[in-house]
Each structure stands twice: as structure tokens, then as C-alpha cells.
Amino acid sequence: MKNCLAIFKVLLFTASAFILQSCTSPKAYQKIYLNDTDMELAPRKAEKFENSFQVYREGASGANGGKTGGGCGCN
């Protein structure tokens, strides 16, 4: 648990530092690349069942916008 929290803190710190340094607040008209369907910050529709079988076949789950456990005979 301590390891987990330590890694989370490092991740959070790295991400925050990265964001604070690089953020340029793109305007609405500058989001042509960001609005592209392939740029969506979510799993694709066609990944849905692939993620489901990974929940069954692997011990880890969650933190991907999908299932975290429960709701089916999975872990």
C-alpha cells in the first residue's frame, strides 16, 4: 500500500509539473487536432469486449474508464 501511494504521488507530481510547464490553453479554434476522434481520451467502442476479457483473464482491473470488478462472474 505504501508503494502504491508513493507511485501515485510521483505520478501526480510528474503529471502536474508537466501540465503546469507545458499548458498553453488552446482556444476553441485551435482544437482541430484535439477534437479528432482518434484523440479521444477513452477506450474505443471496439475495445469494449477486449477490456472485458482482460478483466476475466488478469488479476488487475480498473483505471481505464471501464469495469473495476463486480457486476459479472469476473474478479
Partner: protein
């Protein structure tokens, strides 16, 4: 020359302001009727094989095939305060055949569990206040199969920054599950197990809170940080998994009655040049059964045209295994908890494949409302020799 330049700039600003005025006017009008948003149809065929089935104590075939389909309908409407209401309905049906499940009772010609169908309807409702950048959502779900029933409910809140460059989302979810305790046939006492009402039942509850922070970093890069905190309690073992102890006796799997999980993920997408996108994802996972896992996913969509993209991908996964796992004939009868389920053992896995995505506002292949088509194939291989293939077709109608 300067006067001419000023005149041209003036005309340009004038034209711009005219267009922006038009946009404002049209944005002010919101149709208050219930409108069709989209329909998503996703279907896949999955096949796996391996030789470490926990149903037969950690040895034996893991051959399994699954045909899964979901159908999702999304609708929306605006209310008098111009808040947007989304309504979503989904119905999923999975049908699988499993060679190892047939070994729960190998004396029958074909046991009830050698094949099963899972049906899972769900609904979602959300209300979006675009002025304030707030959204509140509710979800409900039900799932039923021969030996497993589940009821789920969730509530979520999203806050978007004024410039829409940042978003924070929190979601609370609960699943209240009920399973039939179907033991391997030789371990059953006091009932025949021929009628589904003969089996005792047990509860399994899962509670999760999910936090997501998304940030547009610049004109080409966006990322999100995901954190889930999950607690499960109740009957977390699989009752028909056999354990053969080193002293020659037999029982079924026994795992602790609670599990606490913390997965943390980071997703970053970058548009490289005009034709390439890098989609990346990393997840660290830890739980109190002693399982630690790392997941890395890389995908490289290539824009063939504005409406066609091809995306090869690679996923690497590594886990150290839970402390209760031991292979076939390795558990001692004096242990408190035991499992021979290789899904909880130490292994690495590799998955690779590709996806082709076609989209067109006028309709893919000339089909008027077919907005997007995704076809995806993935091959999965684990170091314990389990391997699988999955092919998925997703259609979006708008």
C-alpha cells in the same frame, strides 16, 4: 498602402463579426423535443485455449468461445433552462461455451454450465448545464446468467472549466451480486444438484469510487489521470475451482472475503504531424491480496484520409500473482486460503493487433445513417501458454 491594408482588415473583421453573430443566434435556440442522438452496435467473437484450468485443479483445457453483442441507444433533449438531458439504454447478450466448465460435473453428457447466456440491460441518465460546465449522471444495470445475478447503480459528477481545457469527474458505483455456490460434483453433499434451486447462494458486493482529471496541454497533446478505489466483500472465490492438496485430499477454492484494490492510470494522446497519432496508456495496480501489476498500451493511428484511419497497437501486461496461488498439487491442506487459478498467478502477457476505422458524415459505404465503422482484431498471449483471439465490429448510427 497602409490605408488599403486597414480597409482589408476592417472588412475581414466585419465578415467575422457577422458570422459570429449568426452563430450566437442559432446557439440560442434549442429544440426542446426528445432527439435521437446515436445508436451503437458492437459485436465480437472471442476464442481462447490453454491447459491450466482451475476447474480441474490447475491442469486441463481452458478452451472457451464467446459471442458477445451490445446494442446502445442514446437520446437527448433540452429543458426550459437550456440544460441538456441525455438518456441511454443498452442491452448486452453474451453466449459462451466452455470446455472446462463442463468438468464441474463430468458424469453428465452435457452439464448446464458447459454453455451459458448472459443478458445485461442498463440505463444511464445525465443532465448537463453547459453554461456552468456541470454534469450530473446516474446509471443502473442488471446482469443475469445461470449461476450469477447482479444489480448495479452509480452516480457521477463532472466539472468542466470555462475554456473546456480541463475536466474533473468523480463516479461512485456499487454492484450487489448473487451467485449460486456450484461445487464440483464429487464435493456436493446433501443435495443432487440437478435442479438449479438445489444450489445454495452467496453474496458478493463491489463498491468503487473513480476519479478522472483530464487536461488539454497544448494544441496537440491531451492527457488524463485516472484513479479508482475499489472494495469488494462477500464470497470472492469461484466455488467450482478444484484444489488438490499435496496430501491427496481435495476441496474447492478458498479466498479471503474482502479485497481492496487501487489502480492508477495515465492516458496521453499526441497528434504527430498531420497523419499520425500516438495513443498511450499506463496503469499501475495494487491490491491487498498481494497482486501488483503494470499495463502499458501503445496505439499508432495513421490517417489514410480524413475519414479512414488504420491503428496498429501493442499492449504489455505484467503481474506478480496473489499470495494465495500455487499450481496443481502444490497447496498444503494447512493453508488458510488457496487457489490454482492461473489468472491470479505470476505471468506476463503480450497483445497486438490492428483496427481500421471508417467514418463519413454522409454515411459509410453510402449507408445514410452509418456514421462510423470500426473493425478490430487482437491476438493475446500469456507466458503460461494461454492464448486468445478476438475480432470486434462496432457500428455507429447517427
Amino acid at each position: 498602402m497602409r490605408k488599403l491594408s486597414l480597409a482589408v482588415i476592417g472588412m475581414y473583421v466585419g465578415v467575422l463579426s457577422t458570422f459570429s453573430q449568426t452563430a450566437t443566434d442559432s446557439a440560442a435556440y434549442k429544440n426542446k423535443k426528445l432527439n435521437f442522438d446515436e445508436i451503437n452496435f458492437v459485436t465480437s467473437y472471442y476464442h481462447q485455449d490453454g491447459d491450466h484450468s482451475p476447474v480441474t485443479g490447475g491442469v486441463g483445457t481452458e478452451k472457451l468461445s464467446d459471442l458477445a453483442t451490445t446494442f446502445e441507444l442514446k437520446l437527448h433533449k433540452y429543458d426550459k433552462k437550456n440544460r441538456k438531458h441525455y438518456f441511454g439504454f443498452e442491452l448486452g447478450v453474451d453466449h459462451y461455451t466452455s470446455a472446462s466448465s463442463d468438468q464441474i460435473d463430468p458424469h453428465t453428457i452435457s452439464s448446464a454450465s458447459h454453455a451459458d447466456t448472459r443478458i445485461y440491460p442498463s440505463f444511464s441518465y445525465s443532465i448537463h448545464n453547459e453554461k456552468k460546465g456541470n454534469a450530473l449522471s446516474f446509471t443502473g444495470s442488471y446482469s443475469t446468467e445461470y449461476d450469477y445475478q447482479s444489480i448495479g447503480a452509480g452516480i457521477g459528477f463532472t466539472k468542466t472549466s470555462k475554456d473546456k481545457n480541463q475536466e474533473f469527474n468523480v463516479k461512485l458505483q456499487a454492484y450487489l451480486d448473487n451467485l449460486k455456490v456450484i461445487l464440483p460434483v464429487e464435493l456436493r453433499t446433501g443435495f443432487q444438484g440437478n435442479d438449479e434451486n438445489d444450489y445454495p447462494t452467496a453474496g458478493r458486493n463491489s463498491y468503487s469510487s473513480s476519479f478522472t482529471f483530464s487536461q488539454l496541454v497544448n494544441q496537440r497533446l491531451q492527457l488524463s489521470l485516472l484513479l479508482d478505489i475499489v472494495y469488494q466483500s462477500g464470497y470472492l472465490s469461484t466455488p467450482f475451482h478444484r484444489i488438490y492438496f499435496t496430501n491427496g485430499t481435495e476441496t474447492n477454492e478458498k479466498l479471503p472475503s474482502s479485497r481492496f484494490k487501487i489502480p492508477i492510470g495515465l492516458r496521453a494522446n499526441y497528434f504527430l504531424g498531420d497523419k499520425f497519432i500516438i495513443r498511450s496508456y499506463y496503469r499501475y495496480y495494487h491490491d491487498d491480496w498481494g497482486l501488483t501489476a503494470h499495463t502499458v498500451n501503445l496505439e499508432l493511428p495513421v490517417k489514410i484520409t480524413s475519414f479512414i484511419s488504420v491503428s496498429p497497437f501493442y499492449r504489455y501486461y505484467s503481474q506478480n500473482g496473489v499470495k494465495y496461488f500455487a499450481p496443481y498439487l502444490s497447496h498444503s491442506a494447512t493453508e488458510e486460503f488457496y487457489t490454482t487459478d492461473d489468472d491470479l498467478s505470476k505471468f506476463n502477457s503480450n497483445s497486438e493487433g490492428a483496427e481500421i476505422r471508417l467514418s463519413s458524415p454522409g454515411g459509410v459505404f453510402g449507408v445514410k445513417h452509418l456514421n462510423a465503422l470500426e473493425l478490430r482484431y487482437a491476438h493475446y498471449k500469456r507466458t503460461d501458454k494461454l492464448h486468445s483471439d478476438i475480432v470486434t465490429l462496432a457500428l455507429k448510427f447517427k
